[in-house]
Amino acid sequence: MARIFGIDLGTTNSLIAAMEDGAPRVIAVGGNHSALLPSVVAIAPDGAITVGECAIEMEPHLTVERDGRVSAIGFAGGQYGAVIRSVKRYMGLGGDEIAPEDRARYTFADLSGSVVRFQIGKRVLTPSQISAEILRALKDGAERALRAAGKDEKVERVVITVPAYFNDGQRQATKDAGRLAGLEVVRLVNEPTAASLAYGLNKRATGNVAVFDFGGGTFDISILSVKEGIFEVLATNGDTHLGGDDIDRVIVDWLLAELPDALKLDRHVWNSARMAAENAKKRLSDVAETPVAVDLLGHSIRKHLTRDALEKMAEPFLARALKRCELAVADAQLTPADIDAVVLVGGSTRMPLVRQRVAAMFHKEPLCSIDPDQVVALGAAVQASVLMGTQGDMLLLDVVPLSLGIETMGGVMERLIHRNTTIPTSVAEGFTTAVDNQTHVDIHVLQGERELAKDCRSLARFKLGPIQPQPAGVPRIEVTFLIDANGILNVNARDERTGREHSVDVKPSYGLTDDEIERMLEEAIDLGEQDLEERLLISYRNDAEQILGALRKQLGEFGALVDVGERGRMDEVVERLEAARTGTDRELIAKLVEELNEVTTPFAERIMDAAIKLALEKKSVEELS
């Protein structure tokens, strides 16, 4: 039987692992023999996709050339192609749930839909499709590594880990990503639980374990009871939008404090600052003080960051995480003193402050003997071997992180399955009609802990029926809400009188429908079969259109920065490109785009320079007054 692989589809980094001679091992998928694949996806204007280290190089940023000049490079977003990082933050979100700061960072297609859609060139991609590219890169990388080791093995069946606190929509979106990558997702496993499996494999431990998982984008805390190979989750809590990314953002704000907002949000400037900030943060896990620098055009920002200052910035985020820990311990009906071992997972637990605070909370030195970057993937491989039946009597009993219920009269949420209930679990609820001859009953399923439906997250809506016309209250329909071992809801309805199964057409409030996924799969195939030549021509034409459009706009706004001779050269190339654009000579279009780029570069740099000077002047005027 085909092996099942374990995948940690992380916000920052992704890994793939498998059992090898009874022990879980990560597979080196990176070019440099690294197991970590940065979860960064670059999509070129022509639709070409790159994942990992190489994609990072295409992120818009400022770079200092050999001659000392600073230039802006990378895919600037939208029509110029884009580089998407931390796509996991967008999994399962609706368009209306996108934060304003995200809108400055990426270009989105219409934000009214039930799914976030990134607009990149002519392509519109959902987070599941982008995650599918990461999964595909892991699959290809692993198959290549296996071939190099003399094994002709395909990666087809996988376990994928998700944050324990992921809701139904986020889990579904992850499963969809697997399907879009052509993988069979045998099981979704919660990341902290996976980590506990990795630790539990060699030491047949018994006792209560707390797993503290603080990564780039998400935070999870899970409390488990381990006994004779049974890993039973007692409670879990977390925040799917809390992690090292948030700390980086605060450092960036401090670093760019003197710049005006318009410049701070410039994708080149912001990304350069983000890289500098993250690197400084990581260095401060080892040293007490570090310089931080960002080179802008003609100016550079040079500051010093101390560990003390960083810890003050990180404190509010850590406090939020620790509050979640308290709640989880209480939900497990334990006190911190009942916890026998604390496991640290995730890159952000390398911060000394995090270690100290976790140790203080549980009165115990936390365990971190397994690389916190790898432990989740290793645990996923262990769970994969449990699923293959090669792990003896080891068994994982996980819980649902959020309560599930339905909207009742007056907009109140009636809880049917409480959070921290062991899964799989099901509950049956009887429904009837409210008025005579009613033929349908509308049901609104919710997830969350708040009292009112409007404060919970809408999960799905469905209509029961058609129901035979009868007096009010006579029909009896039993609806079974079943949460499977992946933490995903399934709904079934049965007429209690006739015993007949009702078909339930559940419309998810967020996320993709089956039809949409089918269409995406078909599109992917179509795209592959479309004539390559034609596709290239279209993408070159798009390039031309973009650069011409952008130049027109810049000349409108900053025309004063161009001298007559320069303008003449530009106009001449523009004219030739306009003509070539309607033809079919792809090479000619490419050559002219290149040429136009060249003649306009000094102009572009002057615009950037002027903008920064203006901003800094404004700042100093403000300071004087």
């Binding site: 049974i230 449990v386 679990t425 071992a485």
Partner: protein, 213 residues
Amino acid sequence: MIECPSCGRRQQPLLICADCGSPLAATLDCFAALGMPRKLTIDLGALERRYHELSRMIHPDRFASSVARVRDASLRATATLTRSYRTLRDPVARGLYWLELNGEKLAENNKRVPPELAELVFEVQEQLAGMHDAPADSDAACELAAQVVARRSQLQATMDASRAELERNFVKWDQRPDEKMLTLELKAILSSIAYLRTLIRDVDRALENSKAA
């Protein structure tokens, strides 16, 4: 009777096929699902061992590569098992379930105040109203909040006492399960626990709101 999706044998409803050991999606009461005697007193250690043992046999992780029919049976059987375990593990949930099995039920939304709690409930409500009306951040509001916190511990202590009484009585009731009087007693204690639980939740919510304000 139920048919095993693996070997096809028809048999009494259980969670595991008597012939081939495959999971069966039978509809069972909580005691039967776990093979425990239908009693209010339960050996929690034995209950957990039984739960783990059955989970090892029927959990979907054991059937990841089986045909859809068997996977589905495993999913449903395990859902029944975990729900049953949760119900029996908690004395209050177990008591309520036992009443239900005996055709009794607590009043749907439990509006009636149990007589022995009347005075306490009145005082709590008075305090909550006071806290709600006091101007935010005023000394009076702080004072009232402190009183409500003290009241909460009192409510919790009353609830703990009721739970302890419930478990003490389980033994007695198990010996004479058919006496109507005993059912009434059980019902009375469970109502007051349910009532206290709602009250504590209201208090927590009020405290939360006053903190947010």
